[in-house]
Amino acid sequence: MSSRYEIRFSGSGGQGMILAGIIMAEAAAIYGDKNAVQSQSYGPESRGGASKAEVIISSQPIDYPKATAIDCMLAMTQEACTKYHKDIKEGGILLVDSDEVKEFPQGKFRLLKFPIINTAREELGKTIVANIISLGMIAELTGVVTHEAIEKAVLSRVPPAFLELNKKALQIGFEKAKTLK
């Protein structure tokens, strides 16, 4: 199973967790040379509630599309953190927004705390790019995709008017992550 790298993005509906998952998968499989599968869970019918997206990255074909042992998980809300942290594997990473998550789950994983949403607000004036910052952080922290790939993936998914903003957000993510390493 070591050829699988499993990432889970979690938060609440509207925080762009699914988009983050998609971008990560594209970074790996379209702009990188790996295979990737992205999946997600939904609230009632198709909206609302806690939301999660998972990405499996591998150099092999990927059969089972859901997380089995998570290498890296992002939690943007307390609810998501509590609900979804259980599958993080020994030695994995749990990255939480430190303003949102106050009760930390126990486990043999590395717990990294960072005020992601607040950084987006303070440094870029837009909380909407918090998910992009976190993508930068995860790319940096895990090395599972290259900076180049994740940047291409991000830029291909955002409207032209927001290219610069997102580039910056990503950059901030790369840098802030270094401080956590």
């Binding site: 998968a25 594209e26 992205q38 089995t68």
Partner: protein, 377 residues
């Protein structure tokens, strides 16, 4: 190669690509989770290609509209999920008897009833065969990978045209909503079967001409004026009470599928040559199974996988043969026991058949399957 762009697509998006590739130019539907992305995709894409999209007032009307549009000569699609699939049943039966090609996607969600709309299931498998009243032919294809949703949707259209019958594409919410990189096929790369052309003179045309096993269907408005009905009918399409003709026609629509099972069947076999225990399953569950079988092999267990991409007509021969070779056939499915009944029937007591059933909105994991495989090592 430069042209063949890889794209990360959702299963339901791949379905749209497959339909358009196959030449589908008409979509009628009514939204329902977890199939709605297909409607949304078709609503954007079809008009660019000169095709038509219409959101009908319900699923019954949608099914009726695609049958009508097919009679007008287009390749037609509708997509739905459990509750909508139930509602479409009457009209699906109409398409079977009147022999109107069309494709129905059912993205299976947790059930019964409203159930668990965002959860996956594989609990409409038997319904895909038996959902409408009366004896009727059934073809259902069952992709498990995003790329395969594209190719199987194309195959569904091909089978629909070839056999003049509705074809159901069945996959679960997991496969419908996950994203994988896929390679878009170039034009001509995948076979596309178009509707048989009618060449005879109008006065010689019979829509159910008994010269053919499957007579060609002339589109309305092309000079072949004929009659179509859901009543039992003669080769000229008009209703009849003649027992002989009723029987012959009812049997023929079954036979046209039965006689061509070889053409319609499609099985993927993994490690079956020397397998001592086999897994039989479809869709997302087959993905888990393949994972589990790989793990089993690593652990030295001779496990194999029979994955049907056509579940109806049921791959009876493949199962019967397999049953004679293995100690057990394991049937994992996201339901409380459907395919397993057919596997039991076809294996005629020749092997142990064991189902793994799960209906809690979660996938069957590789570990669950592996555990059962180990019992038979």
């Amino acid at each position: 190669m430069a042209e063949k762009k890889k794209k990360l697509l959702q299963g339901n998006e791949a379905c749209v690509e497959g339909a358009l590739y196959a030449g589908c130019r008409f979509y009628a539907g009514y939204p329902i989770t977890p199939s709605t992305e297909i409607a949304e995709g078709m609503s954007v894409r079809l008009p660019k290609l000169g095709g038509k999209f219409i959101q009908m007032e319900d699923e019954i009307a949608s099914m009726a509209a695609i049958i009508g549009a097919s009679l007008a000569g287009l390749k037609t699609l509708t997509a739905t999920s459990g509750p909508g699939f139930s509602l479409k049943q009457e009209a699906i039966g109409y398409a079977c008897l009147a022999e109107i090609p069309c494709v129905v996607i059912n993205v299976m969600r947790g059930g019964p009833s409203t159930g668990y709309p965002t959860g996956p299931s594989q609990a409409d498998i038997m319904q895909a065969k038996w959902g409408t009243h009366g004896d009727h032919p059934a073809i259902s294809v069952t992709p498990a990978y995003v790329q395969e949703i594209l190719t199987e949707t194309v195959r569904a259209f091909n089978l629909a045209e070839k056999y003049r019958t509705p074809v159901v594409v069945l996959y679960d919410e997991i496969v419908g909503h996950m994203r994988e990189p896929i390679t878009m096929p170039a034009p001509g790369e995948i076979e596309v079967v178009d509707r048989a052309k009618v060449t005879c003179k109008p006065e010689e045309y019979f829509p159910y001409d008994d010269k053919y096993e499957v007579a060609p269907l002339a589109p309305f408005g092309t000079g072949y004026r004929f009659h179509v009905t859901g009543l039992n009918h003669k080769q000229d399409g008009f209703p009849t009470n003649d027992p002989k003709i009723i029987r012959e026609n009812n049997e023929r629509i079954m036979r046209k599928i039965e006689n061509h099972k070889e053409d319609i069947w499609k099985n993927e076999e993994t490690f079956l040559d020397d397998a001592e225990v086999a897994v039989f399953t479809i869709g997302s569950t087959a993905r888990s199974a393949r994972y589990a079988v790989n793990e089993a092999r690593k652990a030295g267990i001779k496990a194999g996988l029979l994955r049907p991409l056509t579940i109806w007509p049921f791959p009876d021969r493949a199962v019967a043969e397999l049953a004679k070779k293995v100690k057990a056939i394991i049937v994992p499915e996201l339901n409380l026991g459907q395919m397993v009944l057919e596997v039991e029937r076809c294996s005629r007591g020749a092997t142990k058949v064991e189902g793994i059933h799960r209906v809690d909105g979660e996938p069957i994991t590789p570990a669950q399957i592996l555990e059962v495989i180990r019992k038979y090592k």
